[in-house]
Every structure is written in C-alpha cells, then in structure tokens.
Symmetry: C2
Subunit: 217 residues, 2 copies
Amino acid sequence: MNLGKLQQAAVLLFAQQGFAATGIRELGAAAGINSATLYHYVGSKEELLVSVMKDCLNEMIRSGSEALRKSSEPALQLAGLISSHVGFTGTNQLTSRVAEYEMRALSETNRPAMQGLRDEYESLFAQVLERGTRVGVFSTDDLTMARLAIMEMGTGVAHWFRPNGRLELHEVQQNFVNMAYRVLAADPTLLTGVDFMVAPRQLASEPDSLSAPETVP
Amino acid sequence: MNLGKLQQAAVLLFAQQGFAATGIRELGAAAGINSATLYHYVGSKEELLVSVMKDCLNEMIRSGSEALRKSSEPALQLAGLISSHVGFTGTNQLTSRVAEYEMRALSETNRPAMQGLRDEYESLFAQVLERGTRVGVFSTDDLTMARLAIMEMGTGVAHWFRPNGRLELHEVQQNFVNMAYRVLAADPTLLTGVDFMVAPRQLASEPDSLSAPETVP
DNA sequence: GGCCCACTGTCAATCGTTTGATTGGGAATT
DNA sequence: AATTCCCAATCAAACGATTGACAGTGGGCC
C-alpha cells in the first residue's frame, strides 16, 4: 500500500460518484485497507483530494510549459500546448475530471491554492493566443471566447475518449490541433514536417483499467 | 411557496456544492420552509433533482427541435441549433450545469430516463452534421469528434458567461455559430441576411440573481 | 526492543426520511 | 348566513442509519 494506490482508488470513486458522495469506509474498501488505516497515509479526506488535484494541475502546467519551450513561434507553441492538453486529458481522464469537477468540494482553506494553479495553467493559453494574434498568425472576432472554447473542447476529451477505441490518442491530439487552427484561422501548412506532439505522462493517481460504467454501444 | 421556488433554491445549492453535499435542511432553509414541508412538494431529494433535470432536458430538446424546423438547409439548421444551445445555456447557466454534473448522482431507477433525454438531444446535432456533410456544406476530418467538440464548447458557456458582462448573450451566440462554422469549414456567407437566432426561455428552476461566488476580477 | 501498518471499536454529528400535531381558509351542508 | 367539514400547508421532534475522525491495541518485521 502507498499513496499512489490510495489516490487511484479515490479518483475512481470520486469520478464515479463525486467527492461528497464517497465515504471513507468506501475508500478504504476500494484500496483494500480499513477506513482508519487511511489516516496513516493522508490527514483527511479533503487532503486526499487536494493531493490528487495538486499532482494533476502541476503536471498539466509542467507539460504545457515544456510544450511552449519547444518553439518560439506562437502557432507552433499553440499546437504543442493543445497536444499536451488533449494528450494529458486522454491519458488521465478520471484524474482530470476529478480536478475539474471537485474544485467546489474544497474548503476555503485549500480552494484558493488549487484555483491559482488552474489560473496559471489557463494563462499559458492566454499568453500564446495573445502573442499569436499580435504577430498576425491568429485571427478571431473575440480572443477570450476563442480561448475558452478551445480549452473547453479539449477538456471534453475526458468525457468520451476510450483507449482501444475507434481512435488512437495521437489521432485525437492531431485532430484537436487542426480544429483549433480552424477556429483561429491559422495556416495549417505551418505544421507540415514539424513535430509539436507532446508525449503524455500517466499520473500515479490515474486508475489503470478504465472500469467506468460502460453502456455497451 | 411552489415547486418552482423550491427548484430555484435547489439548483443554486446543487450548482455551488453538488447534490450529495447539499442537505435537505439546507434546502428547506434556502427555500424558507421546514425540511419536512419539502416532502409535500417532492417525494424525495432525488425526485427534486429529477424534476429539475427533466424540465431542463425537455426544454433543450424542444428549443433545439424548433430551431431545426426553421430551415431545411443543414448549415442554417446548425446555426439555429447552436444558437439555441448557447442561448439556453447562457440563460439557464446553473440549471444546465446541474443537469450536466449531477447525472451521476441519480439512482439506477432514474438515470436511464435522463440519459435517454440527453442522448436524444445530442442526436439532434448528429443528424444535422451528418446531413450537412452528406450534401457537402460541412467538411471535417472526423465528424464525431467535431460534434463532440462543438457541443462541448457550447456547453462551456455555462462556466464563464455573466449577464451584464462584457458581452451580450446574442453576441456570444453569434460568435459560437461562427466558430462552429470554422471548425466545419462551412461558408459563413450562407448566414448573411438570415435570421437563425432562437430566443431562449428561462426555466422556472433557474435562480434570477446570479449570486454565485464571485472572486471579483 | 522499537517501528510501522493495520485493525477494532467508538465518538459526536449529521444524514434523509417519517411521524403526529396544528393551522387556516375554502367548499359543502344545513 | 352560519356551521361543519376537509385538505393542503406547515411545523417540531425524532427515527435509524451513516458520516468523518480518532484513540487504543496488536502483530510482524528489522
């Protein structure tokens, strides 16, 4: 037993039922330990959620920043950033869903810090879009709305992507870069022959098998 | 006191803290009644959630279907459908957020019916996109992903739109239609001089004042 | 002998729900 | 018009169950 295993059990249950609806006895049972033993690994139920969210957001920021460093051209930076975003979201579906949905479950003690990380991550997109617009590679009626729309559609990948499904993750990444380019009226030929793809890392908190409820299609 | 007022109080609390984290005493206090009185209006806490979700999804389907009937041209139908979707989401932010987030809170008794309504709504988009692609007004690498992306970015409006903010709702509707057209490589001149806009209705469950937590920007 | 890890058992608090009693005003009957 | 009746609306109180949390205990392992 270790924190990672506990996080996995927590993420699975939090994603399925929500933080508030998940009891610590349930968490313990899923992790194979007694509910009291849980307090040897984490100080409280909320602290467990915080550890998951912190790991998630930090990795998103790290991966996104790494993507930005691969080029100085805004259009290519955006491609890398979206590739990172979609790749991470597809690889860590449940964890990123928990990090998105359960922000409201945090107490006033922890929320500002987590919201700060989220804001920091979103600012990566804002910066790239602003620079790209300034140098003229992007064109939109409203840059703020374009940013929100692009981020949101990437985040949505967590809701429907299935490994071993019709599409490989790298295809999804590529396609979302294309769609974002269209939204921004960016020149898609800028991408030819350039490797902007970022290989996503799987978090310790992400359950291996996606035993999520599956209404077989 | 009536069901609508109760729904409003419920939606506000469910949107802020989630269904599971909201107690019926809290619900009663917010509605100005005793927790026991609540059971004269609804059979259970879950039934209260179901009534909200049912009203919400039914109105989304009704409004979307109405938009489709205003034209037989897929590109214009899509414009109306997106306008309806964004308009509804912006007008009923909290209600649609609850309907989206709290699907998992439903018991096995109620979830299939609600999920069925959601599927029915999504099929409106699928049909229009499929027809538009068939007649050649839309062009995408992957139609399914485009549909998911377009729907998701519209749904995201519930997360950031603020009445009396920088943008009017009709501007947001227009802009999202434009962005969807770009994603689908549709000809924007098809829209000139055509009134595809759908006026959104406010649900009884939607709280009037958006007294949501506001970290003043 | 120490040091972890895991257990049992228990705590007050809160959960969703039900009960029983009380109100007030409109409908029905006299 | 006066009286009786009814029923929706409301309440305080309490139900058993469950919650998050923790103190205390013991069994392995070094």
